[in-house]
């Protein structure tokens, strides 16, 4: 709910160029992050607002970063697609499609060699699936039994090209088999299913048994970016939005008697407050001083 509300608030703003939203894909990020521990690290592609918030990065600092303020996670220098807060277990996003996958392999190697209990998760879209970095890193991770979770958030679009026009395998998780990596395709719109699959995968990796590959089938509600053209028809979009993971899970929790209308109202209020607070913090923050253009280059 926080992710959706945060992204909606951000998309109403016009002072950030554009953003890469993940509305519709929240269950993947939340299901994954609900399983990760403090000593674990998460790396993602550029579509990183949802995953960073799900990992627990402070919303105010994420908002400040996306609006270019010096109080942001990266002092405003990374911006969209490059959020990072390693202290919070979010090693970072990298906006070159597929570019962060081998990097994650290196982070996992460091974890393994330095004797850390932690594991590494790399979250990427189906757009990165066709890139060489994935294939090379799967091979290395399997050979070295790296504690690495490959999580493919298959949102059906490689930037704007439909999945079937870009990728040959029937199930994207089939790729794991070639490397002897346990692999699975799950419904990425159901947070319980994602959490269960992630739990098994994390146990496997944490026990030193090497990498796991998970494909989560999800649906992106909006176009590639807030300024990119929407290529899907209105009826297609209506059908996709009807699969909303938040609506689905709310119904599940209500049916189980865990969530009642009062709690739901309170949650909505908390989320709205958190997003307003994040915006207020970001708006009250300064842009970096122009002299910072030359700091931290080396």
């Amino acid at each position: 709910m926080l992710i959706r509300s945060f992204e909606e608030a951000l998309s109403r703003r016009k002072d950030h160029g554009f953003q890469l939203l993940s509305s519709g894909e929240e269950a993947v990020a939340v299901g994954l992050c609900s399983i990760l521990n403090e000593e674990d690290q998460l790396l993602t592609g550029g579509r990183s607002i949802g995953p960073s918030l799900a990992r627990g990065v402070e919303p105010a600092r994420v908002m400040a970063e996306l609006l270019g303020k010096a109080s942001g996670t990266n002092r405003g220098k990374g911006g969209r697609g490059h959020l990072a807060d390693p202290a919070a277990g979010f090693f970072g996003a990298h906006a070159v499609v597929g570019g962060n996958i081998s990097i994650a392999g290196g982070v996992a190697l460091a974890k393994q060699m330095l004797g850390s209990e932690g594991i590494v998760a790399i979250l990427f879209g189906d757009g990165a699936f066709g890139a060489g970095g994935l294939h090379e890193t799967l091979n290395i991770a399997a050979t070295w039994r790296l504690p690495l979770l490959f999580v493919c958030n298959n949102n059906q679009l490689s930037v704007s090209t439909p999945r079937n026009a870009a990728l040959a395998p029937k199930n994207l998780s089939d790729i794991g088999m070639a490397f002897g990596i346990p692999s699975q395709t799950v419904d990425g719109m159901d947070v319980d299913i994602v959490r269960k699959a992630m739990g098994d995968a994390v146990d496997h990796a944490r026990a030193g048994n090497g990498p796991v590959f998970l494909e989560c089938i999800s649906y992106r509600f909006s176009s590639h970016s807030t300024t990119a053209r929407e290529t899907r028809s209105r009826s297609e979009l209506t059908a996709i939005r009807a699969k909303c993971p938040i609506v689905l899970y709310t119904a599940v929790l209500k049916a189980a008697g865990i969530l009642n209308p009062d709690m739901e109202k309170e949650l909505s209020r908390d989320v709205a407050e958190a997003v307003e607070g994040a915006l207020a913090f970001a708006d009250a923050s300064e842009y970096p001083n122009a002299s910072e253009v030359l700091t931290d280059v080396w």
């Binding site: 002092r75 970072g92 070159v96 990097i103 290196g106 290395i140 070295w144 080396w298």
Partner: protein, 318 residues
Amino acid sequence: MFFREAIMRAVREEMRGNDRIVILGQDVGAFGGSYREFDGLFEEFGAGRVRDMPVAEAAMVGVGVGAAAAGLRPLVSITYMDFMMLGFDPLINYGAKLRYKTGGQLTAPLVVKTTAGAKGQGVAHSQCIEAWLMSVPGLKVVAPSTAADAYGMLKAALREEGPVVFVDHKRLFPVAGEVPLAEEIVPFGLAKVCRSGTDLTISTHSFMTRVAMEAADLLQSEGVSAEVIDLRSLAPLDIDTIAGSVRRTNALLTLEEGQVTCGVGIEVIARVQEILAPISAARVGALPAPVSSNRVLEPACLPDAQRVVQAARKLLKR
């Protein structure tokens, strides 16, 4: 000590002193490196720290950069500099920018050690593309020409806080040179005057330093006194030493094995001009063609002492 042994000694000493240093690359393990420059390291440090990788340079650099960001200090060996192109994305888009883009939270202290230069191996195994890398903010680039500098600069590279590209050269590996017995670091950003002269400054680096010295001998016999300066470090570039020399000689000839277009030489000339106002200068480099393995075409493409002498005569109007 041979150049390749100097590399081996530097890596061994640094690995003994810092257990976070790991070697990643193709044939670096029991095989000992393509030029035996890692001989004995696998035996001493084991398969954990001296890791053979699949022939996938993009992932070699990517894994290296990621491991560096997460606390290790990898030396990634890319057999030929031509293959570095496959690793440019992780090196340039990630490693070189990491400190900046994370606002100082992360940095990637890795060394990419690679071998440049032509020695009969053809169009995709011979290139010197160090000039491409000099323009990347956040990246340091060094290319020593002697065993002593290879030793001292590789040790320095393994102690740097960000990514370094260490360029050696196929024709330098079998070359022997004096290396100090005591441990010695050669800091980056200092050019070296290899030969003093009064009529002409020749600025060069890597294997071409030897060609420049040969040319300086030939010029001497014609009565031209050439000063030869080995840049050693390309980024950062020690422009003061070159400018100081040109202030005395009033003529600058740059020599490199790579292309002169947007090359190391034109950068040196431009920066010297920024200090000294217009100067008399000329560039020598490979001809604008791929470097073939053909025994006639390869030497036809590359600069040699004769070509340097001719360029010097023309520059000095002799």
